[in-house]
């Protein structure tokens, strides 16, 4: 029974975590972004005036979420007073396909037949006429431009035509730009910027208190009838609150938030925690949070250093030595020279042939511990002549050497001694 309960609990939590709307419930306070945005949109709908606004703020602070909430509210309240067109800078940065997308959405909203074959001019014509018609029908069209900053490179024809259309009285539309670049409006051309009403809503990352509130709100199971196993829920919540108050958890939370204090990051962290909550007891433990933290914030370079073979470590150390000598740029040949020198100085281990070293070197290039300084790929010059650099700091390398399982100690000596002669034995 408890396992079933646990399963249900996990399912519920996962649903909550992966549904962004749940995470930010609208806060009714009048100065919240939610109510501001709601006000802007609703009066531009009902005063039937054009408007434009930018929602700015770092990632994962719920810009889009708030917008979605507002739009849903409005659509539920006045279903036929507005129609929403959603564009995303990632997909529609190209003007003509953006126009096409607009037309497509408008068509689907108004049950019209959409033609793929229509030319770009047809589409823009159609959009303008739609604007006009909707204005006559007292219907506001709301353009949501997500990743707003990605629309700005290029000629900004789309933005211009949108904003220009809004200068005329017989159109009724709102352009809502969402961007994580706080200087998004500086990216606009002059002709566009002049037509843009400089109304911006700034979204700030949530404070620690908000996050903790969010934490409880998300993780605590409902003890009311909405969740079947209420007694399990009580036990669950009790355990959680114990964990939350323990300082071990506070540290974890601090380190997680310290890396990235956005909501989405927190949600990720929680998701991992929920995923490896032990299915036996079905309760979240501190351990699960710990492992979640580890899996969320990883030491990528160290991991890949763990993976490299001994020979590859040799090469890395040789490169590090070359960089310490700072003899300008160097390439595989100079590495081989260095390696040979070291090998001769201290007769330990076998001296590997050039081919094998080259293969190891290519592995290093593959897993991006080593990189080319020149990144033109069509070059006629073969690999061993191209200049390379170490992509990890010597400190990271040192840690890697220390932590790697069977690293020969001669390597460590090579690592910190400068000249091999001094300790040749």
């Amino acid at each position: 029974m408890s396992t079933g309960a646990a399963a249900d609990a996990q399912a519920l939590l996962r649903c909550r975590l992966s549904d962004p709307r749940f995470s930010l419930s609208p806060s009714p306070s009048p100065d919240s972004n939610y109510s501001k945005l709601k006000f802007i949109l609703s009066n531009s709908i009902f005063e039937s005036c054009n408007n434009s606004v930018l929602l700015l703020g770092p990632r994962g602070c719920g810009k889009t979420t708030v917008l979605e909430l507002v739009l849903r509210k409005l659509q539920t309240d006045h279903p036929d007073r507005l129609s929403v067109v959603r564009l995303n800078g990632l997909l529609h940065s190209d003007d003509r396909c953006a126009l096409k997308e607009i037309v497509r959405q408008l068509c689907t909203d108004h049950q019209l037949i959409f033609s793929k074959m229509a030319s770009c001019d047809d589409n823009s014509q159609f959009m303008l006429s739609m604007l006009r018609e909707c204005a006559l029908a007292h219907k506001a069209i709301i353009f949501v431009l997500d990743e707003f900053d990605l629309f700005t490179p290029g000629k900004q024809r789309l933005l211009y035509s949108l904003l220009d259309a809004m200068q005329s009285v017989q159109s009724q539309a709102v352009v809502v730009g969402v961007s994580c670049r706080l200087d998004a409006d500086q990216l606009l051309e002059k002709r566009v910027r002049s037509r843009f009403s400089h109304r911006k809503l700034l979204f700030l990352p949530p404070s620690m208190e908000d996050l903790q509130r969010l934490l409880r709100q998300i993780l605590f199971l409902p003890t009311d009838s909405s969740f079947r196993h209420s007694d399990f829920a009580v036990k669950f919540n009790a355990k959680l609150s114990v964990i939350f108050n323990g300082e071990g958890f506070i540290d974890i939370l601090n380190s997680v938030v310290g890396v990235d204090n956005s909501v989405s990051h927190l949600l990720n962290f929680l998701f991992c925690a929920v995923c490896n909550m032990d299915s036996g007891s079905g309760f979240l433990s501190l351990g699960s949070f710990k492992s979640a933290m580890l899996s969320v914030q990883r030491q990528l370079k160290l991991e890949s250093l763990q993976d490299v073979s001994i020979l590859e470590l040799y090469i890395l150390v040789c490169m590090k030595r070359l960089e310490a000598k700072d003899c300008g740029s160097y390439n595989f040949n100079s590495i081989m020279k260095e390696y040979k020198g070291l090998q001769d100085a201290s007769q330990t281990g076998a001296y590997y042939s050039r081919q094998v070293c080259l293969r190891a070197f290519e592995h290093l290039l593959e897993c991006e511990l080593v990189g080319f300084t020149d990144n033109n790929r069509g070059q006629s010059l073969s690999i061993e002549f191209r200049a390379v650099v170490l992509l990890i700091s010597s400190h990271e390398l040192y840690q890697g050497l220390r932590s790697s399982r069977n690293c020969p100690d001669i390597l460590l000596q090579w690592f910190d001694r400068e000249n091999p002669k001094s300790h040749a034995y």
Binding site: Q355, L358, R359, E362, E366, R377, G378, I383
Partner: protein
């Protein structure tokens, strides 16, 4: 030439055209020669008729030679094809056994979950022992046909598909075009998979032949290989790569992560040298097609092959040119027709019925001049030819014998052939010397023979034939036995030599130690006295060697008469190196330049003379000027002098006008000046590259 060299740079694709150039030169050259020669004839119609005869004789002879060559080449590759087919079969079985996948699974995008740890492509590196790919393109085509006939899917890719510009899409496009026989604009492997999963195509290996790996762009090739190796379990793809240089060329070319997807196997194509030997044997030594090359020509061909481009293709082309030249220049060459038909009647009749023009010509063929003939030229011609035939047969027999020796002694037939053609052969000192030593030495011969042999090897004097003869002496007796058998076969026409050989063979037979060696070809029964003491055998076999050597020498001395020292050989033997050379390496740039210098001599117009005049063609003017200035000329001076020449004629008139004081006149005169400027500058800019 050097500075202008970069302007016409032959890209690899153009090599073919450039290489063809001599032929064009040839075709231009031909008619003029006819003009010259036809002066000697009194009547045109028989001249034309004989010309027709000649041309068809040429067609006949050349077709014979060509077919002979083709057969040789086909024979040389057939063995490799068999090997490759076996290899394909084995590796296909290997793939099948490693994992089985159903028809429906083939088209799935995800890899098959078999736990063979790494997927490898079976790859055959075919070493075409030649840095020039030209010869082997055809070979790979034939290989493709052969394997197709054995029931594989064949894709022939060349390095052009593996260019950085088109990327991997390029090779897939042509791959699909060859297999699926339709060109998709989005070629990818899923199409190949679904094609392969159709009943008709399923369960056959797909062989991808890449003619020239070295030229492929390594990035694209590597990508191609890794991609195919992902799918190799579902789509059994085998690769055959032509490698021009060395086995580790691919290793240098490809990155390691592509290399470890290959499971290579090495195959070797016959080297062009041995193919050439075979060709010469088939085309010139063994049968007589009524066309033969003189000593100098042979040498020239040999050097051209060894030093300029070692391709069979160009060698054959050179031969063809030589043949064509011969039949166009030599008026009696049509006689060879009879020779091919092998009946003396034909050419005797034709010889009788020659018009006296030709007879006169025949009478003062240089080789007859020496021993001047009396009586009927026709008869003389007839039996001269038959004589020549006899000599030629002996010669070829001997050369074949020597070649058999050469096979043991690592001496090329090509060298022996050239040397055997040398008319000054009998009085070549090196050969003399070895003949001498053949006479006087008895027991201690082997020692210093070897010694001399070695020294003569590293110092180049000591001809190949001499080497061959020496080789005969220090052959191991078993191989000598073999050799003698070969000789017996080759010298069947020459009765007396054949007898000697048989005798030698028999004695050898006897003296070879105890165990019985039965002879089929000459039904000798071994006489009972065959038990000898070993040392006795030793020097006996020694004697046998000696005898063999002497026999070889006598053969060389008596029967190997170079064709050029026999009467009427001009009719069948092509000796004009210079003609061939000019046709073959007819340095186009040089000819153009010389022609530019003497343009007036070509277009015989009245106005031009040797000196530069404006009426000459602009190009030639410019070139002449450039010559005058030496190799470096700056464009301004060039233009100035060019203008000077063009304007030169009209200057006087202008000077006249200059004297007239009134300013407006001068204004007027400026006009034509400026016009001239334009009209001069235009062709100048047009011409200056």
């Amino acid at each position: 030439m050097a500075p202008s060299a970069t302007t016409d740079w032959p890209s690899p694709s153009e090599i073919g055209d450039n290489a063809l150039q001599p032929c064009f030169v040839l075709h231009k050259a031909l008619p003029r020669k006819y003009e010259k020669r036809s002066k000697e004839f009194n009547s045109d119609e028989d001249e034309s008729s004989y010309e027709k005869l000649r041309s068809e004789a040429f067609n006949l002879v050349w077709s014979r030679i060509e077919t002979a060559i083709k057969d040789v080449l086909k024979h040389s590759t057939s063995h490799l094809f068999k090997e490759l087919h076996n290899w394909v079969h084995e590796s296909f079985l290997a793939i099948k056994s490693s994992a089985t996948c159903s028809l429906s699974e083939v088209t799935r995008p995800y890899p098959l979950l078999v736990d063979n740890l790494c997927r490898q492509l079976f790859t055959a590196f075919v070493l075409t022992k030649n840095i020039e790919i030209v010869d082997d393109l055809l070979t790979f085509k034939e290989l493709g046909v052969h394997l197709k006939s054995q029931g594989c899917h064949i894709v022939n890719l060349s390095s052009h598909e593996f260019s950085v510009k088109h990327g991997i899409a390029g090779c897939f496009r042509s791959l699909l075009r060859q297999l699926v026989t339709f060109a998709s604009n989005t070629p990818d492997i899923s199409i190949l998979a679904s094609w392969y999963s159709e009943e008709a195509n399923y369960d056959k290996p797909i062989v991808v032949i890449i003619e020239d790996v070295e030229q492929c762009s390594s990035m694209v090739l590597a990508e191609f290989i890794t991609l195919l190796s992902e799918w190799v379990v579902k789509i059994p793809v085998l690769m055959i790569m032509g490698v021009a240089t060395t086995v580790d060329a691919p290793r240098k070319l490809l990155p390691s992560n592509a290399l470890q997807h290959l499971q290579p196997r090495k195959f070797t194509l016959g080297s062009p040298v041995e193919r050439l030997d075979a060709i010469i044997e088939a085309a010139f030594v063994k049968p007589f097609y009524g066309f033969n090359v003189g000593y100098k020509v042979a040498l020239f061909l040999r050097n051209y092959f060894l030093r300029h481009d070692g391709t069979i293709t160009s060698f054959v082309r050179a031969l063809k040119i030589a043949c064509m030249k011969h039949f166009s220049m030599e008026q009696l060459s049509f006689l060879c027709k009879g020779i091919i038909d092998e009946d003396s009647k034909v050419w005797e009749k034709t010889c009788q019925s020659l018009p006296e023009g030709l007879l006169k010509y025949a009478a003062n063929i240089s080789s007859i001049k020496r021993n001047n003939i009396d009586g009927n030229v026709g008869d003389a011609l007839a039996d001269g030819i038959s004589e020549l035939m006899r000599l030629r047969n002996n010669w070829s027999a001997v050369v074949m014998c020597l070649f058999e020796v050469g096979k043991y002694g690592k001496i090329q037939l090509l060298d022996i052939f050239c040397e055997a053609l040398d008319p000054s052969l009998p009085n070549c000192k090196a050969l003399k010397r070895c003949l001498e030593e053949g006479k006087d030495h008895r027991q201690p011969l082997r020692r210093d023979a070897i010694l001399r042999d070695s020294e003569s090897l590293n110092s180049r004097e000591g001809t190949f034939i001499a080497q061959a003869v020496r080789k005969v002496r220090d052959l191991p007796s078993a191989s000598l036995h073999q050799l003698l058998k070969f000789w017996a076969r080759h010298t069947e026409e020459i009765a007396e030599v054949n007898h000697k050989v048989q005798a030698l063979l028999s004695t050898f037979e006897v003296e070879v130690d105890g165990q019985v060696v039965k002879q089929e070809e000459n039904g000798m029964k071994r006489n009972p006295v065959s038990q000898r003491l070993p040392n006795m055998e030793k020097d006996k076999s020694q004697v046998a060697h000696e005898k063999a050597a002497m026999l070889a020498i006598s053969m060389i001395r008596d029967y190997m008469v170079p064709i050029e020292s026999s009467p009427f050989h001009e009719i069948f033997c092509f000796k004009h190196v210079d003609v061939l050379q000019s046709a073959l390496i007819g340095d186009p740039r040089k000819t153009i330049q010389t022609d530019l210098l003497r343009s007036h001599s070509y277009l015989q117009c009245s106005c031009c003379s040797a000196s530069l005049t404006p009426s000459m063609h602009d190009t030639s003017i410019l070139y002449n000027l450039a010559q005058e200035h030496g190799d470096l000329i700056n464009v301004h001076d060039w233009y100035e002098s060019y203008k000077a020449i063009l304007v030169g004629s009209s200057t006087k008139s202008k000077a006249k006008q200059k004297q007239s004081p009134t300013p407006k006149k001068r204004k007027v005169t400026d006009e034509p000046n400026r016009i001239e400027e334009a009209s001069i500058q235009y062709p100048f800019l047009l011409l200056v590259p």
